[in-house]
């Protein structure tokens, strides 16, 4: 990457960065905690450095420090951040203001939340350029349109006239990238730009970002927790944990020959041994030709859906957002009565409406939610949360109930010391475990798992999946597993239903669904899952183009 104006030395040089924050625990004296412990990194012009780690690893905090910014009371208390040979931490407010949006730009995780909904896209895209006076409006708009074209946005000439709510999430993320590139910065910080997107959209955004980086010779910090994604775009990868550097090396070295144990765990996290079970003779739950709609029948979200679940087995329902997977769960649980069709459980037809179902039917069907945070009442202790189903369904009281709660806590690999804790005192993985225990407490025959691992870090999610499989062995419970993550599906499903726009497009035992020949949508879905392999993105895009040309 030899550039005409290249200076000697790296573009960005962070030395011994230390970041602290003051926390105010209720009832205790405020104390200072260190979020980032003396991390150093260098970045050459035109290179991409991937920062990866679990939540709380300090990756976003480090990324933002390159623009001298500390989020929500976070302070940079030590070290130097040298950009283009200048320590930006010493420049004062004035210096930072000149730097942000001109030398360093930022692409946020949720573009939908980061755009001002009251202004047109073009005004927001050129704002920083105009503010810094690096171009006239006409020039900036011309540049923006060129960038829209490069990022393969539809109607590049006119898309700037739209408001943020008039474009899709993936497009908005690309507009945001154009916004960052518009003022021709030296460095862009990408903060999980594709995490909130579907796999099929993610691949488009990813390749657009990669092309744009290559063509504009901008350097980038790419922050994500998905190693497979970062392997596609970056030249080097830095693995972080608890605010400390774990390993730093070339992309190939990190994913092929990780030197640290933690990196190795991240790289090899996805494999879970699971023997596929053959479907039995009589299904335990069958959904028969169900059609369901929202808004008084105007918006059909499920069209003639039929699936079967066999005792003690797992059916995975896959699809992108809006495909109707969660609606299927709502229909089965009775939250959304179907317009046509029926749900048959254990040989009897379930009442359509939740209110008409007897307690016994409700007990047999339990549900685990995506966001464990909001699925538990923050004002109830773990003991109450798990104990309530015992009390409610089995009339257990006092010591008998506490004993069973302790047993359940053991089953989810948490000690009984947790019984008096409130949800706010648990980590993300522990919360999801408590939710699992709550549903198990009812001794159900079927548990509906709605994206139970997608809000969790990969290593924690791995633990949850293993736990679910173990529990299936012990309790002989069946799962309806809703997810958009095909890696999860591969590791735990017995049969798979692929949904697209409210219809089941492919359905059968796992081995059959995942063997070619595929239909067009399943192929798109499968080929869009990032693989931990350099050059996968190009191959996938190329393969897909041929595919779509063939259709």
């Amino acid at each position: 990457m030899v550039d005409g104006k290249a200076k000697s030395g790296p573009l960005l040089d962070i030395r011994n960065l230390r970041i602290e924050a003051t926390v105010y625990p209720p009832g205790e004296a405020p104390r200072t905690i260190t979020l980032v412990h003396d991390v150093s990194l260098t970045l050459e012009k035109g290179k991409v450095l991937g920062l990866i780690g679990e939540s709380g690893a300090g990756k976003s905090t480090i990324g933002l420090s390159s623009m001298g910014y500390g989020r929500g009371g976070v302070r940079i208390t030590g070290g130097e951040v040298i950009l283009n040979g200048r320590d930006i931490l010493k420049g004062g407010k004035e210096g930072l203001r000149k730097l942000r949006g001109r030398d360093v730009c930022y692409v946020a995780q949720s573009a939908a939340a980061a755009f001002n909904p009251a202004h047109r896209l073009m005004d927001q895209v050129v704002e920083a350029t105009l503010l810094h006076g690096t171009a006239t409006r006409a020039e900036a708009v011309k540049r923006a349109v060129a960038l829209f074209k490069k990022l393969s946005l539809p109607n590049p000439e006119t898309i700037g006239q739209r408001f943020p709510h008039q474009v899709s999430g993936g497009q908005l993320q690309r507009v945001m990238t154009a916004m960052a590139l518009c003022s021709e910065p030296d460095l862009i910080v990408f903060d999980e730009p594709t995490t909130a997107l579907d796999v099929t959209t993610q691949i488009d955004v990813l390749s657009a970002i990669k092309d744009a980086i290559r063509d504009t010779h901008v350097a980038a910090l790419y922050i994500t927790h998905d190693l497979a994604v970062v392997a596609q775009v970056s030249d080097e990868i830095m693995v972080l944990r608890h605010g400390r550097l774990v390993e730093w090396g070339g992309t190939r070295q990190i994913i092929k020959e990780p030197r640290q144990e933690y990196t190795n765990a991240l790289v090899s996290v996805r494999e879970i041994e699971h023997q596929e079970q053959q479907p039995g003779t009589t299904p335990m739950l069958s959904v028969k030709n169900v059609t369901a709609a929202y808004g008084g029948g105007h918006i059909k979200v499920l069209k003639n859906v039929s699936v079967d679940i066999y005792p003690g087995q797992t059916l995975a329902v896959v699809g992108e957002s809006g495909s109707g997977k969660s609606t299927l769960a709502r229909t089965i649980t009775g939250l959304l009565p179907p317009e046509q069709g029926s749900v048959v459980f254990d040989g009897r037809t379930l009442a359509n409406r939740l209110a008409d179902r007897p307690k016994e039917d409700l007990r047999q069907l339990q549900m685990i939610y995506q966001m464990a945070d909001v699925a538990m009442n923050p004002r109830q202790t773990v003991g109450t949360i798990i104990g309530r189903p015992l009390e409610f369904y089995f009339g257990m009281k006092g010591r008998e109930r506490d004993k069973r709660v302790a047993e359940l806590l053991d089953e989810i690999e948490m000690g009984k010391g947790f019984i008096d804790r409130y949800p706010a005192e648990l980590s993300g993985g522990q919360k999801q475990r408590v939710c699992i225990a709550r549903s198990l407490a009812a001794k159900p025959k079927l548990i509906i798992c709605d994206e139970v691992t997608s809000a969790l870090d990969p290593l924690v999610a791995h633990g949850i999946l293993k736990l679910l499989l173990n529990l299936q062995q012990i309790e002989k419970v069946a799962y309806l597993f809703i997810t958009h993550d095909l890696a999860t599906v591969k590791s735990i499903a017995d049969s798979i239903a692929v949904m697209y726009r409210g219809e089941v497009v492919r359905y059968g035992p796992k081995s059959k669904v995942l063997t070619p020949p595929f239909d067009a949508y399943t192929d798109l879905l499968l080929s869009s899952v990032p693989e931990m392999e350099i050059g996968w993105l190009e191959k996938a895009i190329k393969g897909r183009r041929m595919e779509s040309a063939g259709n």
């Binding site: 939250l335 939610y369 923050p378 005192e425």
Partner: protein
């Protein structure tokens, strides 16, 4: 003792003052140096060793009247607030949980009640109904419950769509559990802060009603009524009307300090264990 030392100073002040008011109200006959309606001296005597706060417009001991007044004021305000909160919160929560027609009818009824200015409504109702404590408390409580209904419905509608409420519904829980065990504990913070405010409004409303002659009937008097009795003295430079007014202000501030403290203690989602 350590627990007391950990209470911040403003809250402690509020607690002490509120406790003083409450104690005065409860033990009024024991504390008050003279009877409530007993004429003990001249009209509007200045403060003296015999009459610490002087005498009122009829020559009654002002301190004794203040103490008896605390009793009536607190009694009515506490009961009216309790009524308005239980009524407003239960109806508001159930409207949010049941929705549909139940919600629409209740909400429109509340709108109807709120569209008439509270004071005018109170005056009309009280002048028609027999004037006694029960009607007074009922009228005040019901009129105030419209405000509480609005607030609790708004809060509960947000909580009602949370996954944990859905989980409870899926479990088959009845509305009782959902309202009192799922929604109420989470709606408590805004309700407690509103409680402090509403209690003071009740005191002020009672004072206004008494001032207009429709509240507590003589010879009993709440603090607002005492302001009315002595208001003419202000022209002659006699502070008798200002003392009950100051008592109302002090009560208002101290109750809110206590409410703030309770709020601080209960907002922690970690059970206050830090």
């Amino acid at each position: 003792m350590r627990a007391i030392r950990r209470i911040p100073l403003p809250s402690l002040t509020g607690l002490v003052l509120t406790a003083l008011f409450v104690l005065a109200a409860i033990f009024a006959p024991l504390i008050a140096p003279h009877g409530n309606a007993e004429i003990v001296g001249d009209v509007w005597e200045p403060m003296s060793a015999a009459h610490w706060l002087g005498t009122d417009n009829l020559g009654r001991d002002l301190l004794s009247r203040m103490i008896y007044g605390a009793r009536i004021t607190l009694f009515i305000a506490v009961l009216a607030t309790a009524l308005s909160f239980s009524l407003g919160a239960i109806l508001g929560f159930s409207a949010a949980v049941f929705g549909g027609w139940y919600d629409t009818i209740l909400s429109r009824l509340v709108d109807l009640l709120m569209s008439i200015p509270t004071l005018i409504m109170g005056l009309v109702v009280l002048s028609v109904l027999p004037s006694n404590l029960v009607t007074l408390i009922l009228v005040m409580g019901i009129l105030d419950s419209t405000r509480v209904y609005r607030l609790s419905r708004a809060v509960a509608v947000d909580i009602n769509v949370m996954d944990y409420v859905e989980a409870a519904k899926l479990r088959g829980e009845g509305s009782g559990w959902i309202i009192f065990r799922e929604i109420l504990p989470n709606a408590l913070s805004p309700l407690v802060s509103e409680l402090g405010l509403r209690f003071i409004y009740a005191v002020l409303f009672l004072s206004t009603l008494s001032f207009l002659g429709l509240g507590v009937q003589p010879p009993d008097a709440d603090w607002g009524g005492m302001v009315k009795e002595n208001k003419d003295g202000i022209v002659f430079g006699i502070p008798a009307a200002l003392i009950p007014a100051a008592a109302i202000a002090a009560l208002a501030i101290s109750v809110n300090l206590v409410a703030d403290w309770v709020l601080n203690r209960t907002t922690s989602l970690k059970g206050g264990r830090g």
